[in-house]
């Protein structure tokens, strides 16, 4: 495809992706601990999918031109994972990474939940759950009307799937055979007050639900960068149907300060300084073990 030099479209490099994922995970913990509030565990479950989307030869975008009409769109429907989105957008070049230390402060463009028009690269105001998939569908249909070839990616949560609007969007996307729309379900297993299996057990079987709604469904390990990449490639080949990746993830990315409270996985609670140091050390060890450094 012929593109201008400033279009960001990365080649798939597993080593680079591991490094970025490590860096973004660290930044999620650092920024939320500094802010003293926020949702690090919900961001960490999403971070590997975000890494592949933005840096793994999946999305095309121009950080210097956030409203470029032919950009691929990403909408974080589970808006509470905003720290995960912000660290990704900063890494992608949408704004100065130094801003990450202003997360949630008065006057900062990095609000508690994503705000359209406030932060470059944020495609929709989210934080009231259930709405991002419909917004993504609007973008995807708009591409069809205009004959543009951009793709739309929407990340939803498993707790968020309690919302009826998710299923309204699912039906209508299938009706219009919208194949430039890929949803990622961040299936981290927990919502605010407990495991999804207790709060809303009937979300399962979720694969069959999305299949029944007429979507192309792939079930993946949401922390396996290569697998995530392959899934996005396959999704892009699907014609006549929207696609969803059911990404099995861990709320807190298996870091001990999050996993020790099995009941709620620290939903909406940042790590204190000591816990943050523990989590960062675990991330460092894990990265160095992977890369044999």
């Amino acid at each position: 495809m012929e593109q201008k030099h400033d279009v960001q479209q990365h080649t798939f490099d597993i080593h680079r992706l591991r490094e970025i994922s490590w860096k973004l995970s660290r930044a999620i913990i650092q920024s939320t601990t500094k802010a003293g509030s926020g949702h690090p565990s919900s961001s960490l479950s999403a971070v590997d999918v975000l890494t592949v989307l933005y840096f793994g030869d999946v999305m095309r975008y121009k950080p210097q031109e956030p409203h470029w009409p032919d950009r691929d769109r990403f909408i974080l429907s589970k808006g509470h994972a905003a720290p995960g989105l912000y660290v990704t957008l900063a890494e992608a070049g949408y704004f100065d990474p130094a801003l990450l230390s202003t997360l949630r402060q008065f006057g900062s463009p990095l609000e508690g939940h994503p705000v359209y028009g406030r932060t470059p690269g944020v495609e929709a105001s989210t934080g009231s759950l259930g709405q991002g998939l419909s917004i993504g569908l609007g973008h995807a249909l708009s591409a069809k009307v205009d004959g543009r070839d951009y793709r739309v990616y929407v990340m939803i949560g498993d707790g968020e799937s309690d919302q009826g609007q998710i299923w309204e969007a699912a039906m209508s996307a299938a009706k219009y055979r919208v194949d430039n729309l890929t949803t990622i379900l961040d299936l981290n297993g927990y919502q605010q007050t407990g495991p999804v299996s207790k709060v809303m057990p009937a979300l399962m079987p979720v694969v069959q639900k999305w299949q029944a709604f007429g979507w192309d469904v792939q079930e993946i390990d949401g922390h396996d960068l290569a697998q995530i990449h392959t899934a996005f490639r396959q999704a892009a080949e699907v014609r006549g149907r929207p696609q969803i990746l059911i990404a099995h993830t861990d709320k807190g990315k298996f870091l001990s300060p999050f996993t020790k409270d099995e009941k709620v996985r620290k939903h909406g609670v940042p790590l204190n300084e000591e816990e943050a140091q523990t989590a960062l050390a675990e991330l460092d060890d894990r990265y160095h073990a992977q890369e044999g450094a």
């Binding site: 709405q131 917004i135 609007g138 609007q165």
Partner: protein, 333 residues
């Protein structure tokens, strides 16, 4: 005719019909208009557009929340996204989606709610939007328009499309009298139309109540009371200058709307009057209750939305004004 009509207003079309015709017309000129329907296009009249431009029309089924958010996506990709349903379902059902996806991001989404007020008649209170103006005006960035007749609705539809941002346009089901003959309505968002001059008080009305206001003014005139009549088609942003002038120059105000008294035209006018030039105000509208099924004319009578109700309110507000006046002070002119 919905109301007693001594002034010879000609019978006209329903505002929903006028909207549908105008949208079809504008659709030819503005390729960026996308219309989203909640499976009621034959009621809201977006079907006129659908027949001409099927590629830009999306029936998303009976799912208002999804419709609004899809419109938000279209608008953030550069479209003018128009969503239409019954006003009550559009505003009440999808309020959070409107807040998050339209008003807050200040996107170019147009909301057109038909079947507003109690004049829909027999379908009953579940279908009647009587709190929609309050809901819509409460949203920052939202323009709220309530046109009175065919000509003004056509002009309002065009103004809505030309306005870069969120707009709520309220249309109605029944045929309404012609206020502006031969397509003569001038329409500017936020600028009231003065339909009648009078020195003793001002009646400020919107929607179907404009016709009732003109009839009431006629009745008052026969008693020697001359009322100014304003068609306050835009509730937000309110024409504060016109309200202040009415207060200053006529000294008493009656508002009339087919909506709850909470958060509607009367509430907006009262705030403008209180802030700028306090004078007595009387309010004609629905008084803190839901209506019921019945013929439109019967309902308007039963819930006090008639020329006679405006007439009575005018006499009452004039009485209140003279009671308030200091004995030695200057009477209002």
């Amino acid at each position: 005719m919905l109301f007693k009509n001594s002034t010879g207003l000609a019978p006209g079309k329903a505002t929903r019909d006028a909207f549908g015709a105008a949208l079809r017309e504008i659709g030819a000129e503005r390729q960026e208009i996308i219309v989203i329907d909640g499976d009621v296009g034959n009621s809201t009249r977006t079907e006129y557009f659908a027949k001409e431009y099927p590629d830009r029309f999306f029936n998303l089924g009976i799912a208002e929340s999804n419709m609004i958010s899809v419109a938000s996506g279209f608008a953030s990709s550069g479209k003018i996204a128009l969503v239409s349903s019954f006003a009550v379902f559009l505003l009440d059902n999808a309020y959070d989606q409107i807040r998050m996806g339209v008003a807050f991001p200040n996107l170019n989404v147009k909301l057109v709610g038909s079947h507003s007020g109690i004049s829909i008649g027999e379908d009953g209170p579940s279908q009647m939007a009587i709190e929609d103006i309050a809901l819509a005006t409460a949203l920052p960035n939202m323009v709220v328009i309530v046109p009175a007749d065919e000509s003004s609705t056509r002009a309002a539809t065009r103004a809505m499309i030309d306005h870069p941002g969120p707009v709520y346009l309220r249309t109605g089901r029944p045929a309404v009298p012609v206020i502006y003959p031969d397509g003569s309505a001038s329409f500017e968002i936020g600028k009231a139309n003065r339909l009648r001059e009078g020195a003793n008080l001002t009646i400020i009305a919107c929607g179907i109540m404009v016709a009732a206001a003109l009839e009431a003014a006629h009745q008052l005139s026969q008693e020697g009371i001359e009322a100014r009549v304003l068609d306050m088609h835009t509730i937000k942003p309110l024409d504060i200058a016109a309200v202040e002038a009415a207060a200053r120059e006529t000294g008493a105000i009656v508002t009339a709307e087919e909506h709850l008294l909470e958060g509607g035209l009367g509430a907006a006018v009262a705030r403008a009057v209180a802030e700028n030039f306090p004078v007595p105000i009387a309010f004609v509208g629905i008084k803190d209750r839901y209506a019921q099924s019945g013929p439109p004319e019967t309902l308007l009578e039963a819930y006090g939305l008639t020329p006679d109700a405006i007439h009575q309110a005018a006499l009452e507000v004039l009485e209140r004004r003279s009671a308030n006046e200091p004995q030695s002070g200057h009477p209002h002119q």
